[in-house]
């Protein structure tokens, strides 16, 4: 009588071992990639408070114009884009180019908008090459393409926006390398923080918010509404000095 072996060798064992090896190697490769590249450096979306005293707007028109229109805006806010694309061209052409007003743009990135700070940085770095307003216009005009989409991760949204802003930089003729380095270094973050802090001090609660003379009005104003505010401020020669730090 032959004694049966105590335990038959499982012929599938090598297969399970190979499966295990493939799984471990695959997961290790993914982990290495995750650790090696890490997520794309996120442009901070939630800004710590800044120093309002260092606020520095971007100015369109004659700085000594009799009336100042100060706008606190978020590049990712739809109402701001609506104002920038539909109304602002008229305001520039009919009021600022005519020497009646100067427009001061202050960044007011809202925490819920994941790409706002990146947009502000991109515009600020364009300002280094005297092309803030060209970049401002491109960013607002393309808002649909780069704004964060529902369900999209912050990393993916940030990457998509970065690519588009780089395209805008190229299109408006910026020195791309200098602009790109400036954005990556977040060189103007202090300025953006300061601009927003000034808005907070001035009780700005939504975007866009306009300060014309000594009146503060929230919402995407029509040209006529803005013109009325300018007319009201004009006789007083805009003694408020705008929204700038005093």
């Amino acid at each position: 009588m032959v004694k049966p072996p105590a335990k038959a060798r499982d012929p599938k064992k090598p297969f399970y071992v190979i499966l295990g090896v493939v799984a471990v190697v695959g997961i290790a490769l993914i982990a290495m990639q995750a650790r090696g590249s890490g997520p794309t450096p996120q442009i901070v979306a939630e800004l710590p408070p800044g120093d309002a005293g260092k606020a520095q707007p971007y100015v369109y028109g004659r700085p000594d114009a009799p009336v100042t229109i100060s706008e606190f805006a978020d590049f990712e806010c739809p109402a701001c884009a609506q104002f920038a694309t539909l109304t602002e061209p008229d305001v520039r052409k009919r009021l600022a180019d005519a020497g009646q007003v100067s427009i001061r743009f202050y960044d007011f990135p809202l925490d819920q908008h994941r790409n706002s700070v990146l947009a502000s940085l991109s515009a600020a770095c364009a300002a280094d090459q005297n092309k803030f307003w060209e970049m401002h216009d491109r960013i607002f005009a393309g808002q649909d393409a780069w704004a964060t989409r529902p369900g999209e991760s912050d990393g993916a949204a940030n990457r998509r926006a970065s690519r588009l802003f780089a395209e805008y930089a190229k299109a408006i003729g910026l020195d791309e390398a200098a602009w790109s380095t400036c954005v990556e270094e977040q060189r103007h973050l202090e300025r953006i923080r300061a601009n927003r802090q000034l808005g907070i001090q001035r009780q700005v609660r939504s975007t866009p918010t306009f300060i014309v003379g000594n009146q503060m009005v929230p919402g995407a104003l029509s040209y006529d509404a803005l013109k009325r505010l300018v007319d009201q401020a004009a006789p007083r020669r805009d003694t408020s000095g705008g929204a700038g730090p005093r």
Binding site: F15, G26, Q33, A34
Partner: protein
């Protein structure tokens, strides 16, 4: 066994793309094509979830079923074979639609997505062959595994 191995590779690819979509991985290794263009497009999300996450689900289902099929007590199970064919066929159709979007709508190719599509086609072919084989044997859930060790008296 072949299906289990292919599905495991599929799980790893889909997991990789999902982690990228979730921002855990910063950039995709993409020697050919434009993986990021495809994976950041609006078609990279389906019913609120990254398409790649659906892929992980499908591959895990295929992997679990095929692994169960290798167990002696499920050997030759028609139910498992039919489920494998059904999931693989559905996945191939979904993958074909995604490939169409890549080629004609997004106009960019993601090499990882192509690899996944090829894997799914291979899984479908193998699972159909397995299903036909199990039908040909005409045994429902009681076929003795081919590689059962001989009994010793």
């Amino acid at each position: 066994m072949t299906i289990a191995m292919l599905s495991l590779v599929g799980i790893l690819i889909a997991l990789y793309l999902t982690l990228y979509k979730l921002g855990v991985i910063g950039g995709l290794t993409c020697t050919v094509g434009s993986c990021e263009t495809v994976n950041t497009s609006r078609w990279a999300t389906f019913l609120g979830l990254p398409v790649a996450a659906w892929g992980v689900g499908a591959y895990v289902a295929l992997f679990a079923l095929s692994l169960a099929g290798t167990a002696d007590r499920h050997a030759g199970s028609q139910t498992i074979s039919v489920l494998l064919v059904a999931i693989a066929a559905w996945s191939v159709l979904f993958s074909a639609w995604l490939t169409y979007l890549e080629l004609f709508v997004i106009r960019a190719i993601c090499i990882w997505c192509v690899a996944s599509a090829v894997l799914l086609v291979a899984i479908l072919v193998v699972s159909v062959m397995d299903w036909r084989g199990s039908r040909g044997r005409g045994v429902r859930g009681s076929r003795a595994p081919v590689d059962t060790p001989p009994r010793v008296q």
